[in-house]
């Protein structure tokens, strides 16, 4: 995720102090990974240098988190362009799991066991996310659903692969 664009977007509704920006980011998007002040500081100084934000005031006491930032016209254009640009879909073509399955088959180890173990690990995470979704608000639900649908897709692949292991074994050993 582009932290710079996200912080810029948060500034569009009005100027904020560094600490306020960090709090808003953590609350809305940080869930498992809150920002460090260092990240906020380095990002804001880059945005300043590029003319996308300006310093709107400084609170007594000094540090970078005490600075109040405002978005510039160039900053608004930048957020606009970022939102318009579609994200590149993840191609998932470099699969560690696929590599492991083939290596297991090549070395005479059980690829079926490998797939079962992976399946259990995926389901364990799905349980944790489902529980968090159940307790959470709509944003928790949407964030967890995104992850759950991806894990579900992985599990379907694991199932399909398990069903075709014999065929794959013949091909890779040929």
């Amino acid at each position: 995720m582009s932290i710079g664009h996200t912080l810029l977007g948060l500034l569009e509704s009005g100027p904020r102090h560094g600490y306020d920006l960090k709090r808003a980011f953590d609350e809305k998007f940080g869930h498992d990974r809150p920002l460090h002040y260092g990240q906020v500081y380095s990002t804001m100084s880059r945005l300043l240098k590029n003319g996308l934000v300006e310093v709107d005031g400084v609170e007594a006491g000094g540090g970078p988190e005490r600075k109040r930032y405002a978005i510039t016209e160039a900053g608004i254009t930048d957020v606009e362009a970022w939102l318009k640009q579609p994200e590149k879909p993840e191609p998932y073509l470099q699969s560690t799991l696929y590599t492991k399955v083939v290596l297991a088959l090549l070395t005479g180890r059980s690829a079926g066991d490998l797939l079962d173990t992976q399946r259990a690990e995926h389901l364990r995470l799905m349980r944790i996310l489902t529980d968090r979704k159940r307790r959470g608000d709509l944003s928790d639900q949407l964030i967890c659903d995104h992850a759950l649908f991806h894990l579900e897709a992985d599990l379907r692949w694991l199932e399909l692969t398990a069903a075709r292991l014999d065929q794959l074994a013949t091909e890779v050993r040929a």
């Binding site: 079962d116 173990t117 690990e121 995926h122 389901l123 364990r124 799905m126 759950l148 579900e152």
Partner: protein, 256 residues
């Protein structure tokens, strides 16, 4: 508040005389257990040595590809189908040794059922559908109706209480079916693809309300599903492949 309290006491009171009474079994061991189950339909082996164990209050998902024997396993565990070989114990009692009358009493009193669809009586309102198992057990109409409304509220479908099954959505119908399964305070609810005919959003709602209600009442659940997002509402999953069952569940993070 006072109302709710007396209501709960009432529910416990009507439920007590209905439990099977003969809890002669050992205090330890699973509530419901099976070992070496075999069942063939003609020359088709549906179960080929399946094992199973369910603790009180536990939600267990039964997963596996289509035709692997999940429904057959559920039917055997619930005493609907008699296995060709293997043993099933419920609360310390040998289910396979029971005669038909005792097995059907067990199903009525201790078990609840939710299927994929088509389980509500079309001529009855939703409230009457939920009250039906209590009425069949001789509970007075007023008391049965009150309990039915309680469960319809719990499953957030009290608004359709007076409608007939063909006047509600599929998701609402499944929640009514869950209410009907829970109204007799069963110790085990058997659910076979309860969300199989629903879109993912209504399926999720059914699963959330179903598992929360079951956990609150302490009912254990055997949940047959081929959808992993549905299975993720369980505590544990077993996988059935070619009529054999295996448990691959990993302990939650932190417990390992």
């Amino acid at each position: 508040m006072h109302q709710a309290y007396t209501h709960r006491v009432y529910l416990v009171r009507i439920v007590l005389p209905m439990s099977l009474g003969s809890s002669s079994g050992p205090a330890s061991g699973p509530l419901l257990g099976a070992s070496g189950l075999r069942k063939a339909f003609g020359s088709t082996p549906a179960l080929d040595g399946a094992d199973f164990a369910l603790s009180p209050g536990e939600v267990v998902a039964v997963m596996g590809p289509s035709g692997s024997g999940k429904s057959t396993l559920l039917h055997c565990l619930a005493g609907i189908v008699r296995p060709d070989a293997g043993t099933i114990t419920y609360d310390g009692n040998d289910v396979t040794a029971m005669n038909d009358a005792r097995r059907s009493a067990l199903r009525r009193r201790d078990f609840g059922f939710v299927f994929q669809f088509g389980q509500l009586v079309p001529e009855l309102t939703c409230a009457e559908n939920v009250a039906l198992p209590l009425r069949l057990d001789g509970v007075r109409r007023k008391d049965a109706d009150r309990a039915a409304l309680h469960w319809l509220e719990r499953l957030e479908v009290d608004s359709v209480a007076r409608r007939r099954p063909d006047q509600i959505s599929g998701g609402q119908g499944q929640r009514v079916a869950v209410a009907r399964a829970l109204v007799t305070a069963p110790r085990v609810v058997f659910a076979d693809e309860p969300t199989g005919a629903l879109d993912s959003l209504s399926g999720e709602l059914v699963m959330r309300l179903f598992t929360e209600a079951a956990r609150d009442t302490g009912a254990a659940v055997v949940l047959v599903t081929h959808e992993t997002r549905v299975a993720a509402y369980s505590d544990r999953e077993i996988t059935v492949r070619d009529g054999r069952s295996r448990d691959f569940t990993l302990a939650p993070a932190g417990a390992r």
